[in-house]
């Protein structure tokens, strides 16, 4: 069942639609559905999550059924189906990162931000979650911050504190 918040109506700007057109032109005639994953990334970069109304509009744009968009958006882990913090922190929690302290970073974030995994801080700035391997095992522990997906490597509790402070002062 879709919750009310997931039905937030959104409008696509003409700039966003121009980016859509550019991506759609990369595929052969009739194969425009290939643009689906990149388009959903663009939507998420714009709204910081993927509301159902946006999925419906993407479906209309690509001339496919809404269910074809929903099944993709729910299959892939990168698409946020509910609002996140402005900075969504994703910490790798897979084997090699755990050998060098990823679990400590996750519990530190929980204390530092005062929210549980998946929740958003009261000021709307931060949310965090553990994700599977980010392909940076030699530089662990690592985290990435969407929507830019900048990487932060060789984390310590101190460097995480500093990162949170920098982002807070930047707003």
């Amino acid at each position: 069942m879709l919750k009310v918040e997931e039905q937030t109506p959104v409008t696509f700007s003409s700039e966003l639609l121009a980016k859509f057109d550019d991506i759609k032109s990369r595929y052969p005639e009739g194969k425009q559905k290939s643009a689906l994953l990149p388009l959903l990334h663009l939507v998420q970069a714009e709204f910081l999550w993927v509301p159902t109304s946006a999925m419906d509009q993407v479906a209309a744009y690509l001339n496919i059924q809404p269910i074809e968009v929903y099944e993709v958006a729910t299959f892939y882990t990168m698409y946020f189906l509910k609002p996140q913090g402005k900075y969504a922190l994703e910490v790798c929690r897979t084997g090699p990162c755990c050998l060098v302290g990823a679990e400590k970073i996750l519990s530190h974030l929980e204390t530092k931000l005062g929210v549980k995994e998946g929740e958003v801080t009261a000021d709307g700035l931060f949310s965090f979650r553990g994700v599977e391997c980010l392909a940076a095992c030699g530089f662990g522990p690592v985290l990435q911050i969407s929507p830019e997906y900048t990487f932060y490597e060789n984390l310590t509790t101190d460097s995480v504190d500093k990162l949170i402070e920098d982002l807070t002062s930047k707003k």
């Binding site: 052969p28 993709v72 892939y76 095992c137 830019e148």
Partner: protein
């Protein structure tokens, strides 16, 4: 110093730009290929090189290329697999970050060899910075005439696009990748037909790993025979190894295949030994999917001979006493690491990443995760170890794609080599929550097998 083919210029400032890359001899392979070679000759050079797929399966690249169907009037595609997600593997990210043009040059030569006029680089979605780097590099190459219409006046046209994934390990499997590139869920397809016959949009398609495609550049520059001189036996050329875990110097290293494992771990040219002066307990030599080995079997075969970093040597002894080269993700565990906890972590990974298509994998990975969680947290019974063995046996070989095998092997090998540690968790439910099992006898030199003299 061993020979470097891919990372030779990695430390040159500005090597990520076309200008510097070109100064260092970049795009010579494109000139040579488009001006002096036919597509068939390029395929022949790659065959001669003995290059084996660097993504994990190790299938000969030239042979894969030669299977590509070429029906009249049907488009053919080359898709680069940059969906690097195997825990322990981060070489492709490294290569794309620092020398993006090496991949683009390889893509141009390979696309020409296969007769593809539109090629895609499928990059895992989390690698947005690398996607931006590649798109910038492609724009540079296109502006300079290395891509687009009539490249170098040869009459050959090529468009190259970067496609982001959505965060799914399964899309590293080539048919799941193609599904994803078509805008669908990443469910692997039943083979046959293989992508070489019916791949992207039902057209003949070759899917190659980033490192395999980058390796085509030195193969064309120096010739397949020269490339085949490097390495050992059927493991030719150089290989990027991603080293992680409890090492003094984790990172990406280019090695000549055939380097002794011991030298790789302990020499200062490579990993520099185990961090914090600790001792090695175990390794996963080729990414999380391959069997875990105790230290003694990592360094030496059961008969005492040194183990080498090559496809054949790493798998020497089969799964009883060997492992696999895989994607070259080398994870080292020091004496303080818990094998049960790590196996649980990997099982959780595979449970999370199973696409859900085949029941043995969808259900089995969940069962393995739950049983391992139970043992790790001090609630296990002796039956659980046997149940775990039983579940992994029922996954292996019973799924459409190799993710099922990849989930089963780490569990099977952990029980095979570290059963004592599992049983200790069960017999000592309180103690196992406070301390680790430690090194035990995993690092002691194994006795040499009795030698029978040949008559």
């Amino acid at each position: 110093m061993s020979r470097k083919l891919l990372l030779e210029h990695i430390n040159v400032p500005g090597i990520n730009t076309l200008e510097v890359y070109r100064q260092k001899g970049g795009y010579r392979a494109v000139e040579k290929a488009l001006k002096t070679l036919t597509p068939e000759e390029i395929v022949e050079e790659v065959k001669k090189s003995g290059l084996r797929g660097r993504g994990g399966a190790g299938f000969p690249t030239g042979m894969k290329w030669s299977f590509l169907a070429k029906p009249e009037g049907v488009a053919r595609y080359l898709v680069c697999n940059a969906d690097e997600s195997e825990p322990g593997t981060f070489k492709d990210r490294y290569l794309m970050t620092y020398i993006p043009h090496a991949l683009i040059e390889g893509m141009i030569v390979s696309s020409f060899a296969l007769g593809a006029h539109v090629s895609y680089i499928y990059v895992r979605g989390e690698m947005m910075p690398q996607i931006r780097i590649l798109e910038r590099a492609i724009a540079e190459a296109k502006a300079a005439g290395w891509l687009g219409k009539n490249i170098l006046g040869s009459g050959y046209d090529l468009e190259l696009y970067v496609q982001p994934g959505g965060g799914a390990y399964i899309c590293g499997e080539e048919t799941a990748l193609l599904e994803s590139l078509e805008g669908k869920r990443g469910n692997p397809r039943i083979k046959p037909p293989f992508p070489a016959i019916a791949g992207l949009y039902g057209c003949p398609t070759v899917v190659n790993n980033v490192e395999s495609i980058a390796a085509v550049v030195p193969i064309i520059n120096d010739g397949g025979d020269e490339y085949a001189k490097i390495g050992i036996g059927r493991s030719t050329g150089t290989k990027l190894i991603s080293a992680s875990g409890n090492l003094v110097k984790p990172g990406v290293y280019e090695i000549e295949l055939g380097l002794p494992v011991e030298e790789f771990i302990y020499s200062d040219e490579y990993c520099g030994g185990i961090a914090n002066g600790k001792r090695l307990k175990a390794t996963v030599a080729g990414g999380s999917s391959v069997p875990v080995l105790p230290a003694n079997l990592t360094l030496k075969y059961a008969n005492g001979e040194p183990r080498l970093m090559s496809y054949e040597s790493l798998s020497e002894g089969g799964f009883a006493t060997g492992t696999m080269m895989g994607s070259g993700g080398f994870i080292a565990f020091d004496e303080d690491q818990c094998i049960v906890r790590n196996t649980w972590n990997f099982a959780r990974f595979y449970h999370h990443e199973s696409c859900g298509q085949c029941s043995p994998c969808r259900e089995g990975t969940g069962w393995m995760e739950k049983i391992l969680h139970k043992i790790e947290h001090g609630h296990g019974t002796m039956d659980d170890v046997d149940l775990l063995w039983d579940v992994q046996r029922k996954i292996e070989g019973n799924t459409i794609c190799p993710l099922g095998d990849a989930a089963a092997w780490p569990v099977a090998s952990a029980i095979r080599h570290f059963r004592d540690e599992f049983e200790w968790h069960i017999k000592e439910p309180v103690k196992s929550q406070q301390q680790n099992y430690g090194l035990a006898n995993y690092a002691t030199p194994i006795e040499k097998a009795p030698v029978t003299e040949e008559k």
